[in-house]
Amino acid sequence: MSAFKSLSVAGAKAFVRDKAALFFILLFPLMFLVIFGLLFRDSGTDKIKLAVVGDSPVAQALRQIPAVETQSFDNADAAIEKVKSGDLPGAVIVNGTDVQLRFAASDQTKAGIVNGLVSSVVDKANIAATGQPPRFSLRQSQVEDSSLNAIQYLTPGILSWAVASAGVFGTAMTFVQWRKKQVLRRLWLAPVSPTSVLLSRVGVTLGIAVVQAVVFVGIASLPMFGLRLAGTWWLAIPVFLLGALAFFTIGMLIGSFAKTEEASTAAAQIVVLPMAFLSGTFFPIDRAPGWLQTVSQIFPLRHMNDGMQDFLVRGKGIEALLLPGGILLGFTLVVGFIAAKVFRWEGN
């Protein structure tokens, strides 16, 4: 145990003292989180912009709709010109009781929304003008749906990606350097078991992953980003740790084959980057074609992503642990076994 402990301590010290590693493992992914988080903070809440000419109850009612941003124009020609040029989806020209709507036909969806909005306002105004109480009443209340806002989506994804990068790069690099500098040889000549050497690296990798999780979730939870963890967030812990283990085994595999630091960096890049894009780190994979979604199922990062999202922000129950947990565990065992078989202590 003392070999495990001292090698873990040595690894932790090396990590903390390595400014470049700290940057790539903590700051770099954090930059993505912050930039994307701020960029997409208001996404999905784009207001419908309308040109309004004239003043009347209809125009006022339009201005009071939260989802509408009105721009007032003095004459109809200027307003219609804005629609023609594509700057605005529609123009409402109110002249006494005559309400005229001109809308851009290019975007069917927006045209529909604009038509619906304006006609509902006109209908309401008509009913109000009759002085009669409406026969049908509409009760409105909002439901928290499962579609996520940007930070809810980005935090589990970028955290998983960061853990994957740190696990693969850090592990591969350490083993390649240790072999090159003959540290592995030196360890081979010390009375320590290979298992405790490997476990110390697992310990360092998991430790780094936990630091990443605390920093990322902490910063995303700041009011300016507004991450809110779901009630079952703690179920993400096993997914998280299994994911980190899975990437450790990939790193070990690369570290077994690669002869130089450059080769290990390139190999790690080839493994991690495409996996990150296809696993929905930066954008949801469900917008991709079906076959690509199927392909993405082979990536451990995809399952770590899904699992982290399910528990961190979607609040799913323990039954949702089975699939990502099982796949990550299986992946770790299989790749770990292969890596242990091909692992070389010697440089030649």
């Binding site: 001292s6 003959q182 540290v183 009375p191």
Partner: protein, 304 residues
Amino acid sequence: MTGNGGDAIVVSGIRKSYGDLTAVDGVSFTVAEGEFFGILGPNGAGKTTTLEMVEGLREPDAGSVTLLGQNPWPRKVDLLPRIGVQLQASAFFDKLTAREQLETFSSLYGSGTRNIDEMLEVVGLADKADTREDKLSGGQRQRLSIACALAHDPDIVFLDEPTAALDPQARRNLWDVLREIRSRGKTIVYTTHYLDEAEVLCDRVAIMDHGTILAMDTPAALVRGLDAPTHIMLEHGALRLDEVRGFAGVDDATDDGTTLTISTRKPAPVLGALAERGTLDGLQVRTATLEDVFLELTGREYRA
């Protein structure tokens, strides 16, 4: 286990080939406990491969190695605490200070950290204890790696070219370190390509070239066995050549216009004759060295 005068290492007819290249071709030697044994030869002579087989890092293709009574191959975990190994490249952990390197290595052996300060003192790095490994000079790194090999107090220490690539001053410092280790009763096996150094440090040396041992004995015996003349050098024109050739014991005398060189196998009477004539000023005596031994054995100049 030290001090009973037994054999620490017995190597018998070991061979190792890498493809077509025969790195070690039938090497045998014995190292007694407490002995300072040097393996010397030019680069590519097979020194490192020999050492690696003795340490148990590589399996010999043929022959046998007995290290403290055991075959070191395959890896014997109970044997490892009794040997200390300094590898050719400096094997250190990333970004740790000198003290932390020693702490890490000694904890791998389950030894306490109590003699770490002493080790730093022995290798002259006490004032560099808190300096990170990558900030140390070449000589300091070598000394630290020797300290790391010694941290768990092994019986046998293997040092692979500890003085390679060091400046003369750093080399001299390291010699003191090696002598100090020797005085602690350790058995030392070390490789070097510096013949002068082996001559100064080793109890016995094996001269290797092309994977075989050409000669093995104490440095003094090797040089004596050469029956090479001693050269006495005087300033040009100090004496007439025919006069010098008449001295008892002089084999030959030459004057190249700068230096008058007298070759002799009986230097005492020659020096006596020179003293009588009052020509000892600026006199130099050069006896044969291991370089001459190497030249004699291989027929070529020694190139490190």
